[in-house]
Symmetry: C2
Subunit: 659 residues, 2 copies
């Protein structure tokens, strides 16, 4: 359809609620827009010895991790431990990594990771870092592309269910976080939050958070904006003309607190919040806002000491829109919008109205005009509500049922997922008309085009991240991996190339040309730069020291032995710290360290790295330890023994190698 | 070469040790035996909507889990949680699954899973179960193909490093386990194991364990055989004529206890132990052997109550070969043999002499003859050592350097991996001559042909499980996934088709035709058969009950709400049990349950299933919970709140949904 003549606009979005519910049974599309099978096979095949063209960085969803896929092959290349313990490498079990999972609720071994988002320079992904949010216990993590490891995790206070996160501004000045579930807030004390749930409308509030990103990537909460007790769902920063703004969808503007599937689906429109983050930041820099108690942890990898550290931050600065007008406006948007996406030009703001029959496209230009004209239809808690008719630019018709997310190809087209009608719909940013559509198997949530939410998309592939799997792969019992589909978008018509299963539940993904990331990577850690307090850099320095009931083993590994590999003098009741330094200085020569009966995971130790495993033996005996990562032809010989004597025994500490 | 004329045989296996060490630098093969790229692409492409031909069941190695890949696509279809905590589903965190990880050393959240092995009937994989060993804290698990979940884990006492496990006899009468690391054993008391490591030769012993498998798959240790303090590395049962026997490789017959890479590589020959398990079992059934204290756990999923239970078994029966001759013999085998593999006819026993330049093939027929003739060259701890010359059938020359494992294609050929020369070598079971070889990238450990260690291999594909990855994929920092390579073995010449990365470190894998497994599967749990004590089968039965400081929430999930979804009356200091029953009765409709600040993982609850999360809130407030698995168009609305009041508060328990 054409851009809207506001006078003639009809309310397309009033889809009957019952119909939506009925469609949740997901009728399966019956035909596939398949590329010729032979053609598709060639397009996704990456021959042995060759590399994929793109890194696909997928959120793990309820795995809490980030998973790395090669595109177009769909191969699962790696899993980056982020918010959950990873027995496979000892992340969240080793002494060096446990601080990374510290929160004000204690050590939390799991979270629900939703949206990877790469750092940008001038609106283009730059391959430095990739951020990801924790939805359950609100946090944001930063992963360093240099080593594909989690470098930092910051907790978000005054929020619950951090879903609209962590989307970056065009020069990575800020990343977003927000309340999905509003909670009782008493700004003065923070203590008086024991209120009845039924007092929701009165006591529950939300916050939109702006996390400042430093030169080295370090994250600090610069300010939070107090907002009404809605649910905030997704966000995206503006670009180009709109680069100073960030946008957040909301639902549950009904402020329901029970049975939301019914009670939060009543209003015909909810809101997109438009935040002038640059103005808000200036206000805060000038002393506006209130510093309130809001304890939260910032955990970071100390690269010098090669171990994570936790620091508790006590306060946060909160801005109330009532006291600071001009920083936030609401754009009415049909109906329970989910995604909010800004096109590469920065001119259009698209809301994924999941219960709407049209896809609303707001105009940034019209929004600014309406703000200047004070063209408001009302106000909520100090936040002006703009007139829908004044800001809407187009309503895309026939964009599917249950529209959720939109990405862009940089060639003038947008691609939107429709969850209920199970399809991806391609439409024009000129005519706002649908030009192509392709069935997905089955209901897609997010979609991803490499660079597809930036100013410079690479419009070659699109990945649909589907929520329902059923019969797409060989069955694996009641539980199935979720399914992704790779679609060729290089031509006029979309072509389905490949189904590939995905670990956890990837909500969103980001893609980047491999060359950008490859260049920045390190392949092992320099031993001479390892300043871990327990690092042991030569075999001559290996030793075992007793300190009361703590026994510290300063151990090294090199193909194919441990030093020391015979240890005596440990007693029941001791806490034994194995500080293991991998002396290798070559790529892809990790060693593992496992101890029989240890109530923790193994250590997987990269070349040049030190990791610590704690062992509290329960009974006397001689216990073997060994290398878990097949490191050489004589890997099976890489073992040792630790003798445990009864408490009170007088066996002295002794140790050796190769006697 | 021809079968050996013993008189003329030369000692090919005396490879200088230093040369081996030098080769551990893994020179990279420079050419690839690649199938035409177009041809290979077609062969591995599984078009959207189609299914892979084979299930590949891969061990996760240091992930502790089992991973499922589709073949020929190489797609990662699923991960089965076995020995390690799995934050992704709550395995090892939920109350129902924690007992599965109980050991006599306490709750252990991790292990190192090495060898998947499918149940067999008449020597052919039957698709009922798949077993896998834990190498670190010795255990064996049984996974049910009906639901791809771990059904049982049994601990192995009197052993350390259970590596030569869990290989099945041809009708799954027994599965094997064994000491990799020998340990001090005092049969009488089991207490007096606090001995000096340097007394190894005197005090350290090993055991070979035979686990009996019942009709329903239940595992019990029937007996253990006392053996000298060597390292036992791998095993395989015989077949056909040799079906009553099992074979175990040993290394470290030097009985070194330090720097084994040097000290355990001195002997020119180590041993393959041949055990007549049927005879041993008869002896035990007739009251032979000694019952000794050997506490160990047997953990199993109670399918009626849908939760794991632990039972402690106090003793085990041990047979000493000195007292019970005729059950075990040693076959001298060059040099530090790793794998031991029996060909489909059951006539040949192949030892993977990892430091040997020839691949030794023993004859079962000659072995029996030598036993009958008492053709012994000596004896170790009551175990006769057969004459090498009397039992050897052939020495395959030019089979590569660092030969480890052999599988079979059922068409008269064997395929052996060579770790150091990085190749797979195909040789004839008629002529014992090498007929083809293909480079691998890089050093392969095990290899897998579907059914390739059974009496009925399906000789279409071979998977090489490589240990060194380096440049095979887009780099992911210092840590890389290990790499598998799919090779077409349907023709005379092997053809490399595909590289695919693998999660953890797959040591071994098994493959099975998809149809056999598909037929046996369930897609969801019947709600009416759920007899979990805390199951809540209708929304009307949902409730919250206080019992002292324990609060039990009997909760249900159905698209798209929890009942109850508002809970009050919880106090700081309470332990809250969320018993969540998923009322759905359809395939692929799990719901998740996550609680802000819970110091545990989420629950992922399959249809018809009940799972329990424990939450100990630390401070007053109102905390949201929500569904973590995108279940419907209104999934984002699937949430609730729990109010926590201070300890001593008089807020009564109350709850509701949809008020």
């Amino acid at each position: 359809m054409k851009p809207i003549d506001n006078k003639k606009r009809r309310t397309w979005w009033a889809v009957p609620f019952i119909a939506i519910i009925g469609l949740t049974l997901y009728g399966c599309p019956s035909q596939q827009n398949l590329a010729g099978s032979s053609d598709a096979a060639q397009k996704v095949y990456v021959a042995p010895g060759e590399h994929d063209e793109f890194y696909g960085m997928f959120s793990g969803g309820y795995s809490g991790q980030m998973t790395v896929y090669g595109l177009p092959s769909g191969r699962h290349l790696y899993t980056i431990p982020v918010f959950s313990q990873a027995p496979v490498s000892g992340y969240g079990y080793s002494e060096e990594t446990k601080p990374m999972l510290q929160t004000t609720h204690g050590f939390i071994p799991w979270d629900d990771a939703h949206h990877p988002e790469m750092s940008q320079t001038d609106g283009v992904p730059d391959g430095r870092w990739i951020f990801i949010n924790a939805n359950n216990t609100p946090r944001v993590a930063r992963i360093d592309f240099a080593n594909f490891q989690t470098a930092e995790i910051i907790e978000i206070p005054n929020a619950a269910g951090n879903h609209a996160s962590p989307f970056v501004t065009t020069n990575t000045e800020y990343i977003s976080a927000a309340t999905r579930f509003s909670i009782p807030m008493d700004e003065e004390t923070l203590e008086n939050q024991d209120v009845s749930i039924s007092s929701y409308a009165e006591n529950f509030k939300g916050t939109l958070s702006f996390i400042k990103v430093g030169e080295e990537g370090e994250m600090n909460i610069d300010f939070q904006i107090l907002v009404p007790g809605f649910n905030y769902d997704l966000s995206h920063a503006g670009k180009g003309p709109s680069a100073d703004w960030s946008f957040f969808t909301s639902y549950n503007t009904e402020e329901a607190h029970t049975l939301l599937e019914r009670n939060a689906s009543r209003n015909d429109k909810d809101f997109i919040a438009a935040v002038n983050w640059r103005k808000a930041a200036e206000l805060v820099a000038n002393g506006e806002g209130r510093e309130i108690p809001a304890p939260h942890y910032r955990n970071y990898m100390d690269h010098n000491e090669q171990r994570a550290k936790s620091e508790l931050v006590e306060t946060v600065t909160v801005i109330d829109p009532i006291e600071n007008p001009g920083i936030i406006y609401y754009l009415p948007t049909p109906k329970s919008p989910h995604g909010v996406d800004v096109d590469p030009s920065g001119r259009y703001i698209i809301g994924g109205g999941k219960l709407s029959s049209v896809l609303p496209v707001h105009s940034f230009e019209k929004m600014i005009e309406a703000i200047e004209n004070e063209d408001f239809e009302g106000e909520v808690d100090g936040i002006p509500v703009l007139n829908y008719d004044s800001v809407i630019h187009a309503e895309v018709e026939n964009a599917g049922i249950g529209t959720l997310h939109t990405e862009f190809d940089g060639k003038g087209y947008a691609y939107t997922t429709a969850f209920i009608s199970s399809e991806v719909v391609k439409w024009s940013l000129e005519t706002f008309e649908v030009v192509d559509r392709i069935d997905t198997y089955y209901s897609p949530g997010h979609l991803m085009i490499p660079g597809g939410d930036s100013m410079q998309p690479e419009g070659k592939y699109l990945v649909a991240l589907n929520k329902i799997t059923k019969d797409r792969y060989l069955p694996t019992g009641p539980e199935l991996f979720h399914s992704a589909q790779l679609i060729d978008i290089s031509g006029d018509k979309m072509e389905l190339l490949l189904d590939f299963p995905t670990d956890g539940e990837p909500h969103y993904a980001q893609g980047i040309a491999a060359d950008i990331v490859k260049e920045r990577q390190i392949r092992f850690y320099q031993l001479e730069e390892n300043n871990h307090p327990a690092a042991t850099k030569t075999e001559a320095d290996t030793r075992v020291e007793r300190d009361g009931n703590n026994v510290h083993v300063y151990m090294t590994t090199i193909r194919s032995h441990f030093a020391p590999d015979n240890i005596e003098g440990i007693k029941v009741g001791d806490k034994v710290y194995f500080h293991v330094t991998n002396l290798e200085q070559d790529w892809d020569v990790p060693h593992g360290f496992a101890m029989l009966g240890a109530r923790t995971a193994e250590l997987l130790i990269m070349p040049g790295e030190t990791r610590t495993l704690v062992w509290e033996p329960q009974k006397p005996g001689v216990y073997p330890f060994y290398c878990t990562d097949f490191c050489s032809a004589l890997h099976q010989e890489m073992q040792g023994y630790a003798r445990v004597s009864p408490a009170g025994s007088n066996v002295p500490i002794s140790y050796g190698t190769g006697n």
